[in-house]
Subunit: 337 residues, 2 copies
């Protein structure tokens, strides 16, 4: 590897001059700056990130804490897209991404210890169990952190507007003539789940519609099988709903299956709607009505916030940014006369 020392030798200047020339300090003449930069380019020089990090305490590396029940959140469509967008935005500003959600190492480090060990400049957290001590230790630390779809007082966050999303979806379904609307909701106690349930009830109530208790059942996220069962239960009611809402698009597939097993048609006999707007929703037949989350904006905004905290800690607000989703009208919700 070619180092500054090599460039210095070839240019006949000191290492310090090379450093300053490359970093654009003002006490270097235009002539040497150009000469050094040219030689550096010619010799294929790139800085050693470890040395730089050691000296400056800046690694230009961002820690990623993404998990789901299955493991690392890498196989999760919605969060995969969010991460993707985050990555593009971060890289455009010179940051790389390193996973810090170690599954099991020899010596056990907490997430915070791992972050310090790797010297990351900041951490983005999404889709984890925020009740875990380890996670809260990180959130409460002095490290720049941004959380996605969860808000802590101490750190900025980017959250999807689940209240408005649910409201838009339910309003649309009502506008299509439905009165008996059921909701298979997520199985956890997260803010996301609570907000969606709350918004569901409120929107229904504001439209003057009753929601029988048996219309709101606990399903789970990304669980087509469980949601298939729940759907079967709803369809077996003596007064079944005319439309069923699911916690996410993947779960809605379970609904499609339950309906088809009974040789019913969508949306002729029953209407269904999902949430998230992943690719799958667009290729289902009939196309799934859903709320498309703006993963690009969420990821990009989170990256901007985190890098803001890193580079301008004084002027970056600890705020909660709310990103709206978009109603995607598919054929899965039919018009009731």
């Amino acid at each position: 590897m070619v180092s500054m020392k090599d460039i210095a030798k070839r240019c006949g200047v000191s290492v310090a001059t090379v450093s300053k020339a490359l970093n654009g300090h003002s006490d270097i003449s235009e002539a040497t700056r150009l000469a050094v930069r040219e030689k550096a380019r010619e010799m294929g020089y790139f800085p050693n990130s470890s040395a730089r990090a050691l000296k400056t305490n800046r690694s230009f590396n961002i820690g990623v804490l993404f998990t789901d029940r299955a493991g690392n959140g890498l196989t999760h469509d919605y969060f995969g897209h969010v991460l993707d967008s985050f990555k593009v935005a971060a890289e455009a500003r010179g940051y790389d991404l390193t996973f810090i959600n170690t599954n099991r190492t020899s010596r056990k480090m907490t997430f915070l210890e791992h972050s310090r060990y790797r010297g990351v400049d900041g951490v983005v957290i999404a889709n984890v169990d925020f009740d875990r001590d380890e996670v809260m230790e990180l959130v409460r630390s002095d490290l720049p952190v941004v959380t996605i779809d969860y808000s802590a007082d101490s750190k900025p966050s980017v959250v999807s507007n689940n209240i408005k999303g649910m409201q838009d979806l339910v309003s649309y379904v009502i506008s299509m003539g439905h009165r008996r609307i059921a909701y298979i909701c997520g199985g956890d106690e997260s803010v996301v789940t609570r907000n969606r349930i709350g918004s569901f009830y409120r929107t229904m109530s504001e439209a003057g519609l009753e929601v029988p208790d048996e219309y709101v059942v606990r399903g789970d996220y990304r669980s087509p099988d469980l949601c298939r069962e729940c759907t079967a239960g709803l369809l077996a009611l003596k007064e079944p709903p005319t439309c069923i809402l699911y916690p996410d698009d993947l779960s809605a597939v379970g609904g499609y299956n339950a309906v088809r097993e009974r040789h019913l048609s969508i949306p002729g006999d029953i209407s269904l709607a999902g949430y998230d707007g992943i690719n799958l929703a667009k290729i289902m037949e009939p196309q799934l009505t859903t709320i498309e989350q703006d993963t690009v904006t969420i990821g990009k905004t989170a990256a901007a916030k985190l890098i803001g905290m890193i580079e301008h800690p004084k002027t970056t607000l600890i705020e909660k940014v709310i990103v709206d989703g978009k109603l995607l009208k598919g054929g899965s919700v039919g018009k009731l006369s």
Copy 2:
């Protein structure tokens, strides 16, 4: 951050002794070793990875080069699972993962330059365009590299057994009584595509079956829409196939849609089969017959190979490891009398 210097001070020994005690060198007495380790634990010490990397040229960091046409391969179900498995295996051996497939940085680095800049110990490459100069530069470099689903002479690789997979699938379909089998294949010129096509023809031929030219059409990977069109074309033939194979499971969804649009039934009127065995395949109705790729083994093996190259360069073979998939019999392929 607590450093070795702090521990040294508290223990009344030199920094060198602390380093050696923590790293288990033999020229340290049992007594001091224990004392140092205890203090380190007590003070919450963790090494500074930058300093260590700078000194030892070992970062315990692995570069990840995963892309797809859409971007970073993070939203790709099959490779997402492979990466997931790789990650678990690598972390168990103390390695972290950093992306090196930078989309666009201020100063443009090649993948190799980026790898050296970050000082990664090795790189895992999957699902990229291996014809790109940048990729081949990396593959041909002296850096430890392992490739997935592609083999270069100079580096070990882990590849899915597409030949056997296709053979198993086609044999099964034939055993179900099908004679007129069509194949919508991938749209690129990759080894994966070539091997599958070759295996398809060979298996058909060995069974004494003809394959009309119009039965093999160019689709594309993960493209339900294109594959829906191709399916429509096949169904419109004056002698349509009784079974259609797709390049992957997602694309098969396009097939399902095309069939349903025509009010035909699966597998009553037409049988379909996919490839990959992603979660989606298991929740489709009827369940999709497919070849389930062993993503866990692929990822785990790749990690073992790469770490082998890093830690024991002399004794690690530059070999091609072939991992078999598993036939998953769903209801989408029916029995023909």
